[in-house]
Symmetry: C2
Subunit: 313 residues, 2 copies
Amino acid sequence: MGILVVGSVAFDSIETPFGRGEHVLGGSATYFSTSASFFTDVSLVAVVGEDFPEEHVAFLRSRNVDLRGLSREQGKTFHWKGKYGYDLNEAQTLETHLNVFESFRPCIPDAYRDAEYLFLANIDPELQMEVLNQVEHPRVVACDTMNFWISSKPEALRRVVAKVDIFIINEGEARQLTGQANLVKAARQILDMGVKTLIIKRGEYGVLMFSDSSVFAAPAYPLEEVFDPTGAGDTFAGGFMGYLANTGDISEAGLRQAIIFGSVMASFNVEDFSLNRLKRLGYREIEERYRSFKSLTHFEGIADGHGGALAPA
Amino acid sequence: MGILVVGSVAFDSIETPFGRGEHVLGGSATYFSTSASFFTDVSLVAVVGEDFPEEHVAFLRSRNVDLRGLSREQGKTFHWKGKYGYDLNEAQTLETHLNVFESFRPCIPDAYRDAEYLFLANIDPELQMEVLNQVEHPRVVACDTMNFWISSKPEALRRVVAKVDIFIINEGEARQLTGQANLVKAARQILDMGVKTLIIKRGEYGVLMFSDSSVFAAPAYPLEEVFDPTGAGDTFAGGFMGYLANTGDISEAGLRQAIIFGSVMASFNVEDFSLNRLKRLGYREIEERYRSFKSLTHFEGIADGHGGALAPA
């Protein structure tokens, strides 16, 4: 029941109002696989350059991530430089050095081709399709994307979306993809593209999950300290997919619990730079925060015929 | 167990991407009292001018709102002109004609002075304090404000906040009042000013409620059609206070249910211009949407010792 993730392993240089990190460990596949590793076995397909230190490889290995799909190429590792203001919802990209990632053509090792759970992190939708074609009978496929692909390769992206089960994007991307300001209408249009479950991330406002027959709203955990939102989306996806793969329960109830576990993981991740918080995270903390989400959102229902009690006495 | 509300009864001229309304019925006390009237008896203190039509008075009377505190003065009624773009979270004020509202000095009729529930809608905090001094032993006092008072009369506002039980403001106002970008820290600072319960409205993202010992997050109802957000905050407050006054239950559980009823009322209000949707709203719809909020937010808890299930198999 393990997960295969295809995405980036990278260096990030990040500036927030609370500090900065230079050449710290980052990348969508890194955040995803570290987060998912708390729930299930993960195999990773990505590329790094000659400058990628053994220390980071050892960390991923310590999380039991299968790295047979991590290739090392001549040249430098993908490096993203970004900055956040006090509005931590929006990153400002300062520099993007694709380096070895520029010629990345994901080749799925034979041992991974029967993966049951597949996460296509944010890469060129044409590459996402190549990956899909190499994986035999995945039970659940989820994918992410970004504004750059929505504007530069909308048709390729739509072909991917029509083939996956779960599409995970942020609010602005949902509006951009559909040209629809109303988020519910945008969601309906995206479901009409052929995806079964649509998850819309709203940063500090939480997550909405849409299917043909239901909508689920989960808040983000209200935190007093948010140091670095980098990787929150991939950490969310890792917790979400990790829980699904662990339980095998893809019913509406199972998907909702997975959303909360994803939100739990993301809430920890933003508490420190890079993957520092995930590195010192334990199972008990994950459980405790899941329960905090429960008490954060719980309210009593109303009995039938409560209507009488609504009217003025 | 009725409620007394002090605020504005006004004309609004509104433009949204979906249409426009000229000189339609508006005002904080109007929205509040109409919404609360679905739950309890409401008495209103406000002022209108000679131009205020009998038709609007008759509507409020039809909702059983006690209008002995509605005074009619020489001059014109308060008139607000505003505009919304596709981002319906933010109104742009085009014109504000205070008219008779400029010299409004709320005088609470004797018959209202023993009100148990009091809502101080968004007016000059010095006037809010005058109202507080005229009401004898209210059980629950809630108040609203706006950015204008936060910048022009911060000290007067803080004196009011220290005297009320429940403070209802929006996200930007919470940040403005405290100079604190992090909303949880801002909330703690506002609780330290002496208020017991702080409700932070986040527009289409819902509501957070803070007390010393708990946090509650409620989403807004995801709507396909949002025509006019005007009055959503006061409609929320009306449903919230109305439910509290109806049940008398101001426990944490009662406050949470009240938050959902407030959110239900606000979700209806934005579906049409002015108070048009509230005018045709029925109890059964209110109950149904409350239940929709329940299914929108519900997820299963986890059993003790679930941690084992989290670890990779």
